[in-house]
């Protein structure tokens, strides 16, 4: 197994990170706030897509619960800022830890079932969790509508882009590295035939538990970044957008490939923002249909199917 950061396997990741750097340079050169804004939004969705691809794409456990963990990250940063006035790095770190914890609690019951049952539970439990959080917030007299005027990652949009790019690159690198280790090999094996792994002596549950907990931690980090980018953490952060786009990006980039999410995310977000200028909210419907078609006809991802 290639543990070094070179060779054919690693070249995919280096290409993706190079694309990221080129876009960063272009953004600084053209100096258009709208382009920079779109790029930041794309990278936030890429972070979510990377997590989804690392957990669901590699193992085949299709998780529809992503928006809940985005909400956990966004809401917790809002709450922690308003209550304790914590600085931004702490907000990001604590959101990440809360995401891991809630991902762990979510995974214990859901990962005991497979296939459509897992997918159904992954949808139901977060819905329950969202309602619980909102009810809990109401009881405590906290603002359920959301938190406004949160601190931003930086006063300058260019710096925000730099920070989000760096975080995206680190996450891509770490997740990709994990997939190249023995741990990643087991995850890929689970994606192929989990029963065959178990019958040859590997208990897959701890592997899945660690994977989904880490992935949901990253999703919550993405949610916190989104909240601190828009200065707002509302109920809509628990919404459908944060499921459909990451899934679409991961599938288009090649399910389980990790590296493909970077270019795919940028293409999809820039395309969707361009389309929304002409067809408005119909864009979401079109992309949803595209996601369903891709799942139906290219379940292993568009890039892999083309290869």
């Amino acid at each position: 197994m290639n543990y070094r950061f070179e060779g054919k396997k690693w070249s995919r990741l280096w290409i993706s990170i190079s694309v990221l750097i080129i876009l960063l340079v272009i953004s600084y050169v053209v100096n258009m706030p709208y382009f920079t804004f779109s790029l930041i939004f794309a990278l936030i969705l890429v972070i979510l897509a990377l997590s989804w691809d690392f957990s669901s794409g590699v193992t085949g456990y299709v998780n529809f619960g992503l928006p809940f963990f985005v909400g956990v990250g966004a809401f917790s940063s809002g709450y922690l800022y308003y209550t304790y006035k914590l600085p931004v790095p702490f907000l990001l770190f604590i959101s990440f830890l809360l995401g891991i914890t809630s991902g762990f609690l979510f995974s214990i019951p859901t990962l005991r079932v497979r296939g459509p049952f897992f997918t159904l539970l992954s949808l139901l439990l977060p819905l329950l969790g969202t309602d619980f959080i909102l009810a809990f917030w109401t009881v405590l007299g906290l603002p359920t509508i959301g938190y406004y005027n949160l601190p931003t990652l930086s006063g300058s949009l260019d710096y925000v882009l730099l920070i989000v790019t760096a975080i995206t690159a680190v996450i891509s690198f770490v997740l990709y590295w994990i997939t190249q280790t023995h741990f990643g090999l087991v995850l890929r094996g689970i994606g192929d035939d989990e029963d065959a792994i178990i019958s040859n002596g590997l208990n897959t549950f701890p592997y899945k538990l660690v994977t989904f907990s880490l992935a949901m931690g990253i999703v919550s980090l993405g949610g916190a970044i989104y909240a601190l980018f828009t200065s707002y953490a509302g109920v809509d952060t628990f919404g459908f957008t944060f499921l459909m786009y990451p899934m679409l990006i991961a599938i288009l980039g090649g399910r389980g490939s990790i590296a493909g999410s970077l270019p795919a995310g940028i293409i999809i977000v820039l395309l969707s923002q361009y389309l929304s200028l002409y067809i408005g909210s119909l864009t979401l419907i079109i992309f949803s249909i595209l996601a369903i078609l891709l799942l139906l006809f290219f379940p292993k991802g568009l890039m892999r199917s083309i290869q």
């Binding site: 197994m1 023995h182 087991v186 178990i198 040859n200 002596g201």
Partner: protein, 235 residues
């Protein structure tokens, strides 16, 4: 010490008894488990491996009662089963297929296993690119990676050409020489009989014979139930 003892094992599927009070022990190195289709051989093997939980009875492996032990824990004790229909990890290379299990039960050396199973030249090929014969070898190789004391082989040469079958049997012979014990379910009796030390014959979920291959052909029950009253196997 007897490595495996099965006592009064029963398993029903929807009212039909697939195994009915099976009792036997593995006394020597390699045992053939034979019987007509539907005799309950695969169910018995799956019950021993932990894939299927029996309704009644006990399974003692290496002195430990493993009747209710989880499948992956049984492998950790040194008991592993191969599948009748091969189940390779198709997106992985042959080497990666083996590397997956390199940390189970102390693990085995990948290169040695590849060599024993005659797969050295295919190490970097994707499993999906292998022929059926080589996939059968890979199935055994995966099991060997867990450093087993007892190997349960479900039709290891089923569906193979004569040449391919000889290759697999040779590999199993060299494993046997190294001290790995095995139970083999197989229909191609003439190819495995020279290799095994004892035979258990099942019919309708029950054991109807246990002994050597020579004794087998003199047994009236076996000839009636399994071979239609005629001996048609080159022993």
């Amino acid at each position: 010490m007897t490595i495996l003892v099965v006592e009064g094992l029963s398993k029903s599927w929807g009212g039909n008894k697939a195994i009915d009070g099976m009792t036997f022990s593995l006394e020597k190195d390699a045992m053939a488990l034979i019987g007509p289709n539907g005799a309950g051989k695969t169910t018995l093997l799956s019950s021993i491996a932990g894939i299927t939980l029996p309704d009644q009875g006990r399974i003692i492996f290496d002195g430990i009662d493993i009747t209710k032990t989880k499948i992956w824990k049984r492998v950790g004790l040194g008991l592993v089963k191969t599948f009748q229909v091969v189940r390779p990890f198709v997106s992985l290379t042959v080497r990666e297929n083996l590397e997956l299990f390199s940390r189970v039960h102390g693990g085995s050396d990948i290169d040695s296993v590849l060599e024993v199973m005659g797969l050295s030249q295919f190490g970097n090929k994707k499993a999906r690119e292998l022929s059926h014969g080589n996939l059968k070898r890979l199935e055994v190789a995966k099991a060997l990676m867990t450093n087993p004391k007892l190997l349960l082989l479900d039709e290891p040469i089923g569906g193979l050409s004569n040449n391919e079958a000889v290759g697999v049997i040779d590999a199993l012979s060299s494993l046997k020489k190294k001290g790995t014990k095995m139970i083999i379910v197989e229909h191609r009796l003439s190819e495995i009989f020279p290799f095994v030390d004892s035979v258990v014959v099942m019919d309708k979920g029950k054991k109807i014979f246990q002994g050597t291959t020579t004794e087998l052909f003199d047994d009236e029950k076996v000839r009636e139930a399994y071979m239609g009253g005629e001996t048609n196997v080159d022993s």
